[in-house]
Symmetry: D2
Subunit: 456 residues, 4 copies
């Protein structure tokens, strides 16, 4: 019979379906967790006398051999066996005979996949937590190194008030600290043993889930078998936490890209992290930063992807859920590579302190300090605010800076102004006066650095 | 001069811009938190002698009056005053004179907005946590009430194994428990005092942030002024947690909609929660469930919205961030209304236990139990799995159920099968045998219910 | 019986459900299209003799009165009547008696909602097309006005080559032209009559759909009744087109925000479109641009929202689809307000041509022109590229610009260089040499402007 | 020097950056378009005498050799050469010497990437259009084959009115027809020549863009060089069109999954497209449909990803845009594989016409027909609607179907009812009466099929 679709395809149907449904091409990545989980599972089967001790030994030996074969690249994964789990079980039976068929006792692929995913995500999250900590160290070091650099703090990309570069840098420390918190909280919900839920109803065999949990270092055990095989919350939560982290990295990247423009000129980026142009050697394209900013998109996309997959799925396992792993893996890889490259780059960034300093000097960045000076003299803030506005306007009209104004000129705007005002309206005074907790004065910044370091 | 855009608009420019930039129409919702925050702030200003005690009193009195006016609906909010904060401050000055202008001392709209948002989100999150708890109670009650109802557990929307309806219902308890966990974790990061960060650099006035934190019951204080006014992580985290909650509610809704079809007939939905058709009175459209499933979309949309807003924004405050509140408010309202309506609906759902029971009786849902029976007799699982497959095929070919098979027929498939097998392959035996932790047996379900109730 | 949810709510169930399911609060916006559609429908019923002519007259008279009442604000919409359609039909029956009940003959709310949505979206899309055209005119005017302004073209936010400001501005003309194309294409699929599909199966009454289509100016009629009431493609397509438009507006905004920084100083934004700070009058916060950039997020969110709603919905109508309108309405409003405010703003932007010009003068922006000069002399491009790189490096090391190099210095790098090179490496020569179609020379820019203007 | 990040990485910095920034691993896929574009470009360079004819010949010969090497798998792509473009140019120079360096004359990677992407997307879109057409043919065939099958049409997953299965199936034809329309419209904007825009400003060399357009069969040429290298609209538009297509495929999949449940039993899916369970051979898991439904998520995710990447990017090229290709490629692959597998599957689906028919027989699916009967007799619709409601209620109370009612019973509800009513209220009469355009009668369905076939 001539096919209706006019021979556009060369493959036969079976092959098409096989290719459409296989997951080996991506879940192969879980192999070591699959083996780890299987070994714990089979130990439990032995302890519970569900299978004989000698079978346990044979199975473990077989799995260890498979592990070595995979590590050394000798193992042949077959796409026709669909996924990593079937590949390993199949190889085990090939190797040790029918006794290998006892491994899957009291287990289903549904709880097995959940287990492998949790082991994987636990390991990767811990690695990411380490990278965040490293990046935080890099930031703290940069903050310590640049303690004397003053720059304009911006709102609306308009110069607003002078701040310490260190203070600016440490703001990213705080963001990353919250990111760590989110990943750690996520980990609590990742770190729950699913195995023993079987297909969806539990098992009639006398398994000891607590023992498996101890072997695999899970502090908790899932409480409902149906929920366990249906649950991908931890994928969503991880990718959501990653999205927020990427928001932070994209903000940092955006800012460094702007600072790297000839017009700002606040930074010189290390050669190794930019691409030049052989035709314009002065050009330093901040590719790493642009790519980091761009990669934010893929993580947001992954989040939308997993949310869409899970929306409205009836319980328990549905094959749609096979679409969960690629967004997870891609998110893990993206987050790790972005953190990894930024933490190498930041220590090499040169900050042009002169350029930053001079950018604080026009623009009346200390106007707010005059208002606060007047408040200290008793003037209501709104009035002080308005008086200062008048003063700045006078300066603009007369092409003067605030520091250039004479006392008589100042006094025209308010009798409360005295000679002591000059102490308040220099850039340095403005910065060092911000002694409120979390403020930009050297004192507070140093206090924060000290506190951060003492935590480790 | 004739405008280029050919008079399509009637409003003049100023009005257009005013309307484009105003936030009063939505941030008015924050008014009570704005007043609460202002009162705490001004108390601190007094305590720190930044403004005189008598001014503090006047300001608090004025704010309390404004509070009453707003509550009673007498207060006139003016769009021309842009936002809720300016409206209240403006009214205060109108009411008590220039001394009202002292309220904004050592404060900026940047940290004030952050404060109001945090107070709002803290209150709403607590309310949502209460609703989740209520919904969980409703589920536990339904589970207790239906302990004797057996139904097919599904995978791929195909009948897989018999489970208790109670067990199925409790799986939603577990999902909600994780949701609670996420909202509580989010709350840790919401519950941090931002006030005192001023515009972005801190203040030179001797504020006491710890005192304000105590007054407003914040267990922590933000550590970096630039970060504080730039941070909207807690919006993202809240909406992400809400998205996951909505995934759960959408799954529940989908399933109840399917169960409510004539073909399934597992449920009868309460009249008050469905719409009928006056022309087809037998029809019960599950509108509430469909809307809940649909509203998942708006929460996902809100998440994408806030992520997009924040991506790549340079520090510190940018006006883009005004676009943060509507997705947050809409998410709060959606989550609360969905939980509120579902928790009222679930107790009124009638489950057709007969229909559910009979659905477990064909379909060989206890096939896995035969396999586990054989495993107990010593057969490797993979072999047992294959033997059972043969048995089921035999039943299909001969139009019998598993229970109808005679021992001689069974023994043809394996000599290990004995007369005791009949104890294992009834639906009830299948269910009651699942005694692994988290399994579907009455024993384990009751144990779980007991544990849940003891926690409260 | 004490409710399980402990009285957290004050409203009773019925009220809660009513509020949860009502759509009047947003679909009221469709009222005029509802009346327009009903009038056409009832005319057809008369023409086909499905109802008597005199009933047609009475119904149209009643509908016209309702139209006037709504316009004048006298009409009372009742939330208890759920939606705008029931409100109008109910008022009609109140007004003209049972004959009003004939209006809904051969119609269902399913095809009625589809009709109103299509009429609404057709009108709004046409309005948006008009706004885009207006914005394009504004851009062309600005391009004409600034024909002599040279600025650096950027890649990676690094100065790359000199271009005309007009050329830069016109790039937005092209983007908007594609946006128009997308909205027009979308309109083809919006502009299809759904009425006559009834609930989902069509009707047994002898309706004349072609006549209704003519009355309502629909060039096409939907071909399948099930599809017609299930279809929300045109919502998705419209919001997707809007998302791309917002990408363009966000890019423009981003760039204008950067240009508005003190560091770039390329623009002065009109006062009416910025917010100042009374304390720092020199500050011009580009709020309108920031909000436009931020509002991109809400349109992306709306897209994700409608996609999520529609994903996996079985045919035909499901109540989830009630969640379609708010994202649509919000997108329409956002797009219109952003276009409306930008097209007013752009003519008022002052471009600092001096600052732009001087930014082209260092940075070796004409290096590529040297390479092309060498190519013209016969050198392979890759070699020319490398020779130019050497020259620029020499300039940097010797703190010279390209124009300051003497012929002997130049010739050291290639004998092909002759005295004519100086004609090629000035900024003006570089610009005016780009005579390829779409290039930045005045000639090509003028040609493009001429072509654009001739199209109107 | 000890690195701050404590040796977590083994690779050195350069390698990390290289890996972070390379695009070869995915853009290698563009190789054939890169060669095709280069050949056209170099022909033009020759024609314009920008390079000598003999160089043109040498370059083309070299490129053709490279093409063959890649096709035969002999070509070594080097990651260190970053991307596919540099790999090919580098190989060309290796092969034919410095003259190969003339290929890149009057071209930049910016316009080259744009060209390759457009050629790729044009080819793929055409392939997708072919697949859609094939899938439509499959649907029309299935509709023709099942013309006599009646089934319940659903709203809210509740049986509503009887319809033809063919009519239901054809609703997907219409959706796909709109999808085709969107892809074709998108193609108009893809099918524009970017080459000749160079880096961003155009070129000073006398290129002939119209000639290149003719060679590469582009009907249009881009009009602004800055826009051309900044534009990724066509990526967004293509992925948005794909998202809508996936909405349709997900709806079809959802419905087939529900129909495939034991409870509905409307379909039997072909073995080759389901996975069984060796333990429960009666089970047919609709994996292909579930995966299609799930893959909708990845396409939505890709859309969000590309939108996020492009949001707020300043002109012209930024490295962020390298993140454009993976979402595009993944979307192309997903759409093609889903269409490919479904168009093979649908002809093999067996529809259980008995089960469908019997589902139309209870549930009063012809109630609306009674109402329309009464309307024909002159009763206002709303009244007819209410009378019918009374009748159905009477049937329910007395456990009768509509057809079982005697005339005297019917007449109690309205004197307008005559003996002729029985002609209207059978399922068949209900279906065949729906003769409005787009209605479900055999007549209209056949007319539609005829019209569809005549279009080809």
């Amino acid at each position: 019979m001539k096919k209706l679709w006019s021979g556009r395809f060369k493959e036969n149907t079976e092959k098409t379906v096989e290719k459409f449904t296989e997951s080996l091409s991506f879940d192969v990545r879980l192999w070591e967790y699959d083996i780890e989980g299987s070994i714990a599972h089979v130990k439990m089967l032995g302890k519970q006398k569900i299978i004989p001790r000698k079978d346990v030994k044979a199975i473990i030996k077989g799995l260890e051999e498979i592990r070595m074969e995979i590590e050394s690249g000798e193992f042949d994964f077959l796409e026709s066996l669909e996924d990593v789990h079937m590949n390993i079980e199949h190889a085990l039976i090939e190797k040790i005979g029918p006794v290998g068929g006892k491994l899957h006792t009291a287990r289903s692929r549904n709880d097995q996949v959940a287990l492998d995913s949790r082991l994987f995500l636990r390991a990767e999250t811990n690695e990411i937590l380490g990278l965040i900590k490293d990046f935080q160290s890099v930031i703290v070091s940069a903050a310590e190194k640049n303690l004397d650099v003053v720059m304009p703090g911006y709102t609306h990309l308009q110069r607003a008030q002078p701040v310490l570069l260190s203070h600016y840098l440490l703001s990213y420390y705080e963001m990353l600290e919250r990111d760590s918190g989110r990943f750690e909280d996520c980990l609590k919900r990742v770190n729950v043993l699913p195995l023993g839920s079987a297909a969806l109803a539990g098992t009639t065999l006398p398994v000891d889930r607590e023992y498996v949990a101890r072997l695999l270092k899970f502090p908790a055990i899932s409480e409902n078998s149906i929920d366990t095989v249906s649950d991908r919350d931890f994928f969503i939560e991880f990718i959501a936490a990653s999205s927020t982290l990427m928001v932070h990295l994209s903000r940092f990247s955006e800012e460094m890209i702007i600072w790297n423009s000839e017009e700002f000129g606040f930074t010189e980026l290390p050669d190794a992290f930019t691409t030049g142009s052989s035709i314009m050697p002065q050009k330093k394209n901040p590719d790493v930063l642009e790519l980091t900013r761009g990669k934010t998109g893929r993580v947001f996309g992954n989040l939308m992807s997993i949310l869409t997959v899970m929306k409205g799925l009836p319980l328990a396992y549905n094959r749609d859920m096979q679409e969960d792993k690629e967004p997870l893996f891609d998110t893990v890889d993206t987050v790790k590579s972005c953190l990894g490259v930024l933490l190498r780059m930041v220590p090499e960034i040169h900050f042009n302190s002169e350029k930053m300093k001079s950018a604080t000097e026009d623009g009346f960045l200390t106007a707010t300090d005059i208002a606060e000076y007047l408040v200290k003299k008793g003037m209501p803030f709104r009035e002080a605010h308005s008086v200062t506005g008048g003063l700045v306007k006078y300066c603009i009209d007369n092409k003067k800076t605030l520091l250039e104004l004479k006392l008589v000129e100042l006094k025209k705007y308010s009798k409360l102004i005295g000679a002591d005002i000059y102490k308040y309206i220099s850039v340095n005074a403005s910065v060092s006066g911000k002694k409120s907790i979390g403020g930009t004065s050297e004192k507070m910044v140093l206090a924060r650095i000290k506190k951060i370091k003492s935590k480790k």
